[in-house]
Each structure stands twice: as structure tokens, then as C-alpha cells.
Amino acid sequence: MSNLNIVYHNNGEVSIKDIGHKLDINESKWDALIDLIFEKHSQVFFYGVRLDYFNDDLIETIQYASDDFLINRNDNFQQILFKVKEANVRLSRGLIGKIWGYYESPSLIFLKDKSNQDSVVSVLKVSRFYDSLLNSVNGICMLYQSFEEDVLWIKSNDINVEIEILKKIGF
């Protein structure tokens, strides 16, 4: 993982700065990391908060990329959650990368136990904040972008997954 600067934060977050580039989740440099996380989990969801702008292309792209549309707050796409088809995470992330660009706070939520899907939905319907989910549902790992456009953040509530990730990224 070249041209990346990695920082481990006290609260368990890991941040990876893509030096000199705007973060693009579609790039192959993220393949190894995403494959590793996917192997430890059974499902992946796209979770977006604060839509930057809206057009019909967004809806169409979501339709292609999603397996199951789970949250659309007030039907205005300001907060969305959908299950992503596996191929759109592991083989090609073009569609996810496109939707990622529509949101101020885009993220991927990896879930270990499929039976917890309803819990994920119900928690995020009540509170849209990442910590609410990480504190309420076991076996969650999140990849997300925050206010820095060139930084990818990772947080997991499974210590074993966290250790594997840190080994993988060579921290």
C-alpha cells in the first residue's frame, strides 16, 4: 500500500491518507484491504448520510448496485442504507464509487452475522451515528470517509478483525 499514510488513533479508529489524491474507493489499491474485511464478514451495506446533490442517475446506480434497499429517510435520500451485491464490492466497485461521490459521509458497513441485519436497520433508523451502530450490534466493521476528502477511516468492534487489518496494512 504505497503513497498511503496510516495513523492508529486512541479510540480504535484507523485512518489512511491517500497522499496527494482524493479518495477513490474504486481504485485497486484498496482491493486487498476490502477483500480481507469481506472474508471476515458475510454481508456488506452502503450507508450514506447527507446527500450533496440529487439526480436520476443516483437512483439508477443504486438500483444496479443494491440487493435490498433498507433505509431512505423521508424519501429524500439524505440518509440511505442498502445491501450491496457481492460482485459490486469484490469484483468492481465502480457503482459504489459513484454513489460514494454523491454523499458527504459515505461508508461501507460489513456485518459478520446475517441474522443481525434487522438490528442494523433498526439502530440506524433511531440514530444515524456510527458509534451507535458499533456499540449496539456485534461483528461490525466500517469503512468511511469523513471531512477530509483524501482519508479513508476504518473502525471495527471486533478486536480480532482489527488486529488482522492492522497486520494487513503493515501498521
Binding site: V7, K22, R50, S107, F129, Y144, S146, F147, E148, E149
Partner: protein, 260 residues
């Protein structure tokens, strides 16, 4: 610089509203309105907005031949400059230290109120002339910036008050304030744990971030103090700023961040 500087030799030509931006306003740089007069002026602006639906001339002028986005950017630059000059001017005044904390607290609350009023104002003026509209949006931006600078000066942020407006969605309830192709949001919580965004201005397209002031932990401890900024915009073909974080005051001196 004050275009009427020669009329006021007793004060610094870079002063804004006689060094008291908390109580006074100077909407166009040509006249300072003081205390109650300033409040009355703002109320008058609101009244204008309410009555504006009957103003056919305004409707006619709002024909789209002007660019609200460009006017708005002018408003932002003017607003930020006014805010910065005003705040720094205030801090260099002698004898201010004793009452500074109270002044700043009052100023921050006052700015937040005016920010809300500005939003209401703009939402009620669908037929506004584009320049007036952009001016109003610039006013909101200036107030958000002022609020931020004042709060920073005070050295603390009350999360419960600042980032829980509209259940944390902020002043503009998530959808933002749209001016031309620009979108403005203020004082909202980010989904990533604690922290929030004080002000965000962006073009409505992928990668359209222009200016953000954020509160919260950033990637790099070196510049990632609790307050910081990210900005990147083009002026006259030049790019200023980067996709990465910058010190909190960087947007005020954006010309020093010109990219080759």
C-alpha cells in the same frame, strides 16, 4: 479597506463596524449601523422579504441573466474578510481583555440567532433579485464564520447547543441552502462519533467541496487540532487549497495556498 476611510481618520482604515462586529453591522461597506439601529435594519430586511412577493419589479429582475453563484462567491469573500477584519480588530483593542469572554459569548449567541434569521429570510424570498439573494446567502455565511471564529476564540464549544440543531442535521435541516449551483450547510453533527461541521460550502457535483470548517479529530495530529479546515476552489483559473486538511485560519489567507 474601507472605501470611506478618508472620512474617518481617527480609526484604522481596515476596521469593520468601528471594531464592534458583535453589535454593529455594515451590509455594504458604506455605512455602519449601531446597536438597536443594526437590529432594526435586519428586521427591515426581513419585512422586505415578506412583502417582496408583491414586488413585480423584483420578479422581472430575477430573470436569470445574472449568476447567483458568482454573486454569492463575491459575498462569501467579502463576508469572510469582514468577519476576519472585525474579529482581529476587536482583539487588538486595548483594555478589551477583561470583558472579552462575555463579549465573545454574547457575540457567538448573537451570530447564531442572526444565522437562523438569515436562513428564514432567504427561505421566504423566492422572487428575490439574484444579487440580493446572493447577498443574503453571503450574510448567512458571514454569520456562520463569525460564530465559528468567536467560539474558537472563547476556547470551547458546547456540543449540545451547536451540533444538535434539528436533531443534529444543522441549521438547514440536511438539505442545505442552495444558491445557484452552490450548497451551504452550517452547524451540523457528523455521523463519525463526536465532532461536527461549522460551515460547508460546495458545488453541487462530485468532488465539489469548496470550503469546510470542522470540529473533531482529523487524520494527522500535526495539523489535526480540534478545529481545522479543508478548502479547494478556483478563482480566475487558479486553484487554491487541496483535498487535505489545513490549519483553521487557512481559508482567510487562501492566496497563500495557491497550487502550481
Amino acid at each position: 479597506m474601507d472605501p470611506l476611510a478618508e472620512k474617518f481618520y481617527s480609526v484604522n482604515p481596515y476596521n469593520y463596524t468601528d471594531n464592534n462586529p458583535v453589535n454593529n453591522i455594515d451590509p455594504d461597506g458604506m455605512e455602519t449601523y449601531y446597536g438597536d439601529e443594526a437590529r432594526a435594519y435586519f428586521t427591515r430586511l426581513q419585512s422586505m422579504a415578506i412583502n417582496n412577493e408583491d414586488d413585480k419589479k423584483k420578479k422581472k429582475r430575477n430573470s436569470g441573466k445574472n449568476d447567483p453563484g458568482k454573486s454569492y462567491i463575491k459575498g462569501i469573500i467579502g463576508g469572510l474578510d469582514n468577519t476576519w477584519q472585525g474579529i482581529t480588530g476587536q482583539f487588538t483593542l486595548g483594555g478589551m481583555a477583561k470583558g472579552l469572554a462575555n463579549t465573545v459569548t454574547f457575540g457567538a449567541i448573537s451570530s447564531a440567532d442572526m444565522l437562523m434569521n438569515g436562513y428564514t429570510l432567504i427561505n421566504n424570498i423566492p422572487n428575490y433579485d439574484v444579487d440580493d439573494y446572493a447577498y443574503g446567502a453571503g450574510f448567512v455565511t458571514e454569520k456562520a464564520a463569525e460564530y465559528f471564529v468567536l467560539k474558537k476564540a472563547l476556547g470551547k464549544v458546547d456540543n449540545a447547543l451547536n451540533f444538535n440543531l434539528n436533531e443534529g442535521w444543522g441549521v438547514f435541516e440536511g438539505k442545505g441552502l442552495k444558491v445557484g449551483n452552490y450548497k451551504v450547510d452550517a452547524l451540523y453533527r457528523n455521523p463519525r462519533s463526536q465532532g461536527g461541521t461549522i460551515l460547508s460550502i460546495k458545488q453541487q457535483k462530485t468532488g465539489g467541496n469548496m470550503l469546510r470548517w470542522d470540529f473533531g479529530n482529523a487524520h494527522s495530529p500535526a495539523t489535526g487540532k480540534i478545529y481545522h479546515s479543508t478548502f479547494r476552489f478556483n478563482v480566475n483559473g487558479n486553484t487554491y487549497g487541496t483535498t487535505g486538511q489545513a490549519p483553521v485560519g487557512a481559508p482567510f489567507i487562501f492566496w497563500k495556498y495557491k497550487q502550481k
